[in-house]
């Protein structure tokens, strides 16, 4: 049961093939079984989850079909990244500094999930404060990649991605500042959707880079991501940066075929040093799109390396300010509970914002950011979507982040430009390396083009569903 997708679990629950409690228990059992090897969770909320499942069963048993439509995720066990505030449940952002912090309120995403009937299994591991792309910098120990536990799951939403890949949950929620959903999804072989900045509320998400943070789903199928986005997306009166744009019925509009779809490919995204198997797989996937009737066009985009500089300055500047509230007065821990990476970012950002340097760094970075946004706008005049590798490498071995303070930025080089531009994007698995590690492809669309990004990914997914690698499962 724990291997089910949201769509299938919903059908099973509706047909009374199993109960929400049964489904939740199956997930909890898998968590118990695999956690010693994976360490995907910081906090498991077994009691709360079972309580929510009992409630879901009550609603399932006492509601009409119409009433059930108000609960699009009723009885679906979901894992939440530990930077989403959960009322009464500790929320650490994988930092020891917040080890004892219990929020008195739910993040908007959490509230929406609960209102939709979802069951929260627990809080997943991440790079501390979301500062990283490995989940190796968590203060609660690294999460391991379910496909090979000697490898990393990516990050910062590594716990969520690993949990979905290992079937500990039906789906999970992550957040992306630049790559933190798509890159771990790629390394773990699952779907990861990064919505447009402002599409999903940030209220209650422990801030990392405030002008970039975008919560989104990590799932087993594209359709599941569409289902969750339907629940999460929309304007929030508690987040002034959310867009009032209407939310589509994403899951109901996935069957638009790709005939005539113009797909842009930029050579600059096949950077020097890219893993050969990744490169080949992407090229094969592009051919697949071509065979489905899409038009492939070469486009010129800025070298993604410029995005690293822009991203590094803006994100660290915002981090230095966002982490100032942990000043030792509240939350029960002093500032020495910050580990190396957070300290580095605080110092870097503080320096970049200092008088005399502001124009040189922060202001200049914002100017280049505008140039990158324009660059994408120009590209999207010619093509509908852009396809590229999500990560230039396969999942790296445990220990790879040691002494590599720019590890994340380099691992995320291919997702940073679109994050800086606030675009929508998705990672979709396209195969495995000979060594048995997943390979991911990203589809990037303009701002608020989630529907197109999802339907394109869905078309690829259903047209490759009989490929042999689809049958693989992690052995844990």
């Amino acid at each position: 049961m724990n291997k089910l997708t949201i769509t299938k679990a919903k059908t099973g629950l509706k047909n009374k093939d199993f109960s929400a409690v049964g489904l939740t228990k199956a997930c909890l059992d898998e968590i118990k079984k695999t956690e010693p090897k994976l360490n995907a969770f910081v906090t498991i909320t077994e009691n709360e989850a079972l309580e929510q499942a009992r409630n879901a069963d009550k609603i399932l048993n006492n509601s009409t079909i119409e009433q059930l439509n108000n609960y699009p995720l009723l009885g679906i066990p979901i894992a939440l990244k530990d930077n989403f505030s959960t009322k009464g449940i500790r929320t650490t952002a994988s930092s020891k500094l917040l080890e004892e912090y219990i929020p008195p309120y739910d993040a908007t995403v959490v509230k929406k999930l609960k209102d939709a009937g979802a069951i929260i299994l627990g809080k997943t591991n991440m790079d501390a404060w979301a500062h990283g792309s490995s989940t190796e910098t968590s203060d609660y120990g690294a999460t391991k990649n379910p496909w090979n536990t000697n490898h990393l799951p990516g990050g910062s939403s590594g716990g969520s991605a690993a949990s979905v890949a290992a079937n500990q949950c039906i789906a999970a929620i992550g957040s992306e500042t630049a790559g933190s959903i798509r890159q771990p999804a790629s390394w773990c072989g699952v779907i990861g959707l990064k919505p447009t900045y402002g599409r999903v509320s940030r209220y209650g998400v422990i801030a990392m880079g405030s002008s970039l943070d975008s919560p989104g789903p990590i799932t087993k199928t594209v359709e599941d991501s569409a289902l969750i986005l339907e629940v999460l997306a929309g304007v929030d009166e508690k987040d002034a940066t959310t867009s009032p744009k209407e939310v589509s019925q994403y899951s109901k509009n996935l069957n638009k075929d790709v005939k005539g779809l113009k797909i842009g490919i930029s050579n600059d995204y096949f950077i020097k040093g890219i893993d050969k198997e990744v490169e080949e797989s992407i090229k094969t996937a592009i051919k697949k799109f071509e065979s489905l009737g899409a038009k492939i066009e070469d486009i010129k985009l800025f070298d993604p390396k410029y995005a690293i500089d822009v991203y590094t300055i803006i994100q660290r500047s915002e981090v230095s300010s966002n982490l100032a509230r942990y000043d030792g007065i509240r939350y029960g821990k002093d500032r020495d509970s910050f580990e190396e990476e957070a300290k580095r970012r605080i110092m870097f950002g503080t320096y970049a914002l200092s008088s005399g340097y502001y124009d040189q760094y922060y202001n200049k970075a914002q100017q280049v950011r505008t140039v990158i946004i324009k660059d994408f706008e120009k590209a999207f005049e010619k093509v509908d979507i852009i396809i590229a590798p999500t990560s230039p490498s396969l999942a790296l071995p445990v220990g790879a982040t040691k002494d590599a303070s720019m590890f994340g930025e380099i691992a995320d080089v291919l997702v940073e430009p679109s994050s800086i531009a606030g675009l929508s994007g998705i990672n979709i698995p396209i195969g495995f390396s000979k060594s048995g590690l997943p390979i991911g492809m990203q589809i990037i669309g303009p701002q608020f083009s989630e529907q197109l990004v999802l339907s394109s990914a869905h078309q690829y997914e259903i047209n490759t569903q009989n490929e042999n690698w689809k049958k693989l499962e992690p052995k844990l």
């Binding site: 929320t91 929020p103 008195p104 940030r202 209220y203 002008s211 002034a240 915002e318 300010s321 007065i329």
Partner: protein, 436 residues
């Protein structure tokens, strides 16, 4: 001749009386409330909480700017001012840096001098530290209360100018009804920065002394006078006063050094990423302008013209918007009874009418009946006056010597005889006639 000319600028913070706080829906009415009862994740700065700006507060800030003759740029934004203090819940204050809501205005003083307004911007208040024995406690009730900061050019030269400016500012704010601007309650706080330059010099002095803790109108002059004296002495000794922040000490009417500022603090301002920039249309600004009440300076001009009042009377009657409205209502009612605005104005001013409790219609009745006393008994009154004057020849003698206040004594004597409430103005007129 003074050797030095004071160069004084003023920063005034005004707490707006909006229902809710600046960035959350907590009640902003915190005064006297139990600590930490007006708080939520946003004003406590809890992880993940986000600020959503209070539209009303922003509109009020713009109205203050308009009332101070400021330009309202169509593009504005909030910024983060990063600094550490235990009462600052987020580790930064949301304020405005290079794009404030209002810029370049002025306030004209009675001597015709214009005090330049550099900027008017919007920010949030901090929490409050309470020290008890060896422990310090934080009350976040005030955290996030909307604050408007009004900054002037260093255009003041005397404490009197500052006093007049503050009175004008307080009056404008009360007219707009956006704050009670009560200094004792901390709803209006001032920080003058004071320095001296040699008379006739044009350049700004190389140092600046900021004075804090002035929480009453009365203390402004004391603090400034003290500083002028203190700095003059230092300059006379051939030294330059230290650039610093000083605190006003109420008991001694003096100032003491609090913090020496080597250079401007580095607040690492950057645009607040949680709040999109504000873009106004000309129409929105003109709509705000049209919502503003007629202000005192406009009323004074109108009262002089429309009601034929003296400037002095007009100023008295426009002291508060309530009094001005009261007077106007009384004029409307009085018109039907053939009372002139001047008669009504005199009555209100001389009788120190309790405008809170006597309705304008009742006031008109009172004026009419007091006049009646004079009308009906005028002959009788004249007889009594004659008698009083002949019984007290000193009155006539003193009056001839120019001792005008003897009239007051005469009025008292007449009143004593008639034992009736009577319009003293009419009585005074009759006595003067008799003395001539």
């Amino acid at each position: 001749m003074n050797k030095y000319t004071p160069v004084i600028g003023l920063e005034v913070h005004v707490e707006l009386k909006t229902n809710s706080k600046m960035f959350c829906s907590c009640s902003a009415d915190y005064f006297g409330q139990k600590p930490n009862t007006h708080t939520c994740p946003v004003c406590l700065g809890l992880p993940g909480a986000l600020p959503v700006p209070n539209k009303k507060a922003i509109e009020w800030c713009v109205m203050i700017g308009l009332a101070l003759n400021c330009k309202i740029p169509l593009f504005s934004k909030f910024d983060r001012k990063n600094y550490f203090y235990p009462d600052l819940s987020k580790g930064y204050q949301i304020s405005q840096y290079d794009k404030p809501f209002c810029q370049k205005g002025f306030v004209e003083l009675s001597n015709g001098k214009k005090i330049g307004i550099t900027r008017v911007h919007m920010e949030e208040d901090t929490g409050k530290l309470i020290h008890e024995g060896n422990s310090s406690l934080i009350d976040f009730n005030r955290s996030g209360v909307p604050l408007v900061e009004i900054v002037t050019e260093p255009d003041f030269e005397t404490a009197e100018e500052i006093k007049e400016y503050l009175q004008k500012l307080q009056q404008i704010i009360r007219y707009l009804d956006v704050s009670n601007a009560d200094m004792e309650k901390g709803e209006m706080r001032l920080e003058p920065n004071i320095s001296l330059r040699k008379a006739g010099e044009k350049d700004l002095p190389k140092y600046k002394v900021e004075v804090k803790n002035i929480n009453s109108f009365g203390f402004v002059s004391k603090a400034i006078d003290y500083e002028i004296k203190r700095q003059t002495e230092i300059l006379e000794n051939g030294k330059t006063p230290v650039q610093e922040t000083r605190g006003f000490v109420e008991k001694k009417s003096s100032t003491v050094s609090q913090r020496v500022k080597e250079e401007a603090s580095d607040y690492r301002y950057f645009p607040e990423p949680d709040i999109p920039p504000i873009r106004w249309t000309d129409k929105q600004i003109s709509d705000l302008k049209s919502q503003m009440p007629e202000l005192a300076n406009q009323k004074i001009i109108r009262f002089e013209k429309e009601y034929n009042l003296s400037k002095y009377d007009s100023q008295l009657l426009t002291k508060s918007i309530n009094l001005a409205n009261y007077f106007q209502e009384a004029v409307t009612v009085g018109k039907k009874e053939n009372l002139t605005p001047k008669q009504i104005a005199n009555y209100i001013i001389n009788k120190k009418v309790d405008t809170e409790n006597i309705l304008p219609a009742k006031l008109i009745q009172n004026i009419l009946s007091s006049n009646k006393v004079g009308d009906i008994n005028e002959e009788e009154l004249k007889t009594i006056i004659k008698k009083v004057l002949s019984d007290n020849p000193k009155i006539g003698n003193d009056y001839k010597k120019g001792k005008d206040n003897v009239i007051q004594f005469a009025i008292g004597q007449v009143m004593y005889v008639i034992r009736k409430k009577i319009d003293t103005e009419i009585l005074r007129k009759l006595i003067l006639e008799e003395l001539k």
